[in-house]
Symmetry: C2
Subunit: 359 residues, 2 copies
Amino acid sequence: MANNKISQTTKKLSQIFNSEKQPAIFFDKNVSTIEENNSLLDGQTDVPVLDPHDLLVEVQAVSVNPVDTKLRQTGVASKIKILGYDAFGIVKNTGKDVTRFHAGDRVYYAGTTQRPGSNEKFQAVDERLVGRAPEKLNKSEIAAMPLTSITAYEILVDQLGLRFQNHAADGKNMLVINGAGGVGSVLLQMAAYLGINLSVTAHSSESIEWLKKYSVDKIYDYENIDETLADQKFDYIVFLYDPALYWDVAIKHIKPYGQLVSIVGTNKPLNMGPLKNIAVQFKWEYMFAKSDFNHNILSQGQALDKIAILLDAGILKTTLNKTFDLINAENLRQAYKLVESGRMQGKVVLNGPFDKALK
Amino acid sequence: MANNKISQTTKKLSQIFNSEKQPAIFFDKNVSTIEENNSLLDGQTDVPVLDPHDLLVEVQAVSVNPVDTKLRQTGVASKIKILGYDAFGIVKNTGKDVTRFHAGDRVYYAGTTQRPGSNEKFQAVDERLVGRAPEKLNKSEIAAMPLTSITAYEILVDQLGLRFQNHAADGKNMLVINGAGGVGSVLLQMAAYLGINLSVTAHSSESIEWLKKYSVDKIYDYENIDETLADQKFDYIVFLYDPALYWDVAIKHIKPYGQLVSIVGTNKPLNMGPLKNIAVQFKWEYMFAKSDFNHNILSQGQALDKIAILLDAGILKTTLNKTFDLINAENLRQAYKLVESGRMQGKVVLNGPFDKALK
């Protein structure tokens, strides 16, 4: 029965789109540098079949995150050849158990690394990972947001245990290490909404300039950070850069009963001992762990719904910084180069349509 | 005014006890080994004056914890010369702001390392750190419990975020590293009450025998633990021994979104990186951090009140293993030797009266 259902859906899709094939951009993990032309390639792939909880989404804008560049270099499950973990699009079809959306709905999401990503025209995504898109933002402004917003939301709610409400954390203070990137730019806005007093480090004059538009108390150049922090102590320290490089800062500047969160991994062992007698907790935030292990995945769709409301209300602003028109391998390579430089403020987005495939 | 109040209280006490001096046992951090006779000395000290939230307690039984031996060796705030972080006793007097207790009440507590400990006949302790003693247990059975019970309670409630109710964590499983000591012996009982399926490691045949009285699913000899655990994964792993020595076991056997808690510090850096993509959290439990930093100290008195009810109901059993009659330096040295051996199952208690002082 299930197989019949799926093959019927596939047939129906091929009728809708006059083809069982669609444009997509592939990666080859054996090509090490993004500068090589074959690191990302225009091509075509099958229109996906839908599982019961899936939406079929026509992708209209995608953004690039550091996780794309890491997965391109290290590879993921061997069957996955299509990256892309941020999308805005329109629902074209729904699996038989879908309840949250209908065809025609405008949606945004970060999806999962367990299935082909958003660098294809028609993508299948579990509805529980999907949010209703903001209405007042354009495609690019929306596509910039999902992965970083979910990550920032989970730092505050899942890891730090805060309520996601205005003034919910009044009186608390936070140090954000490397705050001008994609996650930092939305985390600072969300944390300010919760009432948290913010100190943030940045790595370049462009980044420091970028950060001035946010409600930030202090911006520190990352050089001599320990000296400029003096004797300040923080309730929360969030690492958006290798925590090993800032570990001594953390030990010195975290309050008793404070919390440390990192979204960036490290190969270096961390000196945890000094945190014992001050009862400090350490947490990793990795948003794809939820879909990797089927852990409360609906929470991500629900978070995106809340975030869309705050974006429409102007309480959160898009972190979009740079846009390429046309989604194709050439533009995607340019976007990857910007992200890999580590010097990108906010987000880079490729705005549809898909180009240079199915010629 | 406040000074007058205190000096009046002091005067009153000296009248009650016909002396301003009382028996106490002192330590000298410059004496490195407990075997030396002057490592702990009988003596006398002033009857303490009371702060507004203080109880004056006549101590009738004390137990020894690993923290006593550590503080004896490393020293604490230089003015503190009296150890002892577990007591059963009777309230003799109360500070002016005390609301939770009256003179004559039977109480138990672990106190704080910021003030003289329970190795003195009359001890001042903040009422918020104190619980009403169980009614059905004897002095020694009660004195065995406070510090370890608060630690185990905080592991479950503060660190793992569980409700302290029967069946609150049904379906979860936990690996307890080194479970036959003081904290382990009560943690296993509390975790079983919450419905957690328990695996525990032990270091000797005596410890394995001791553990058989608890509701434990599997007992592992600590040798070859990784081999005998096979491919099991746990929601929670609790280190009651240096976590560095069991870190590879933890990385291999913690579930995604699992939690690691340690009560024992380590000088070795910990390889945190492998926990990132499985979103595992790491937390330190150190019960004295609350009183060190005045962080929600009433929660400790309230925890002891709940624990007393469960002890009286027979849901929790005392972890008392060995008792010395008379509280004096000689018996205390014997108790320290047992604790320092690292081979003690459950708890050792000294049962009053205070002896060999004020001769």
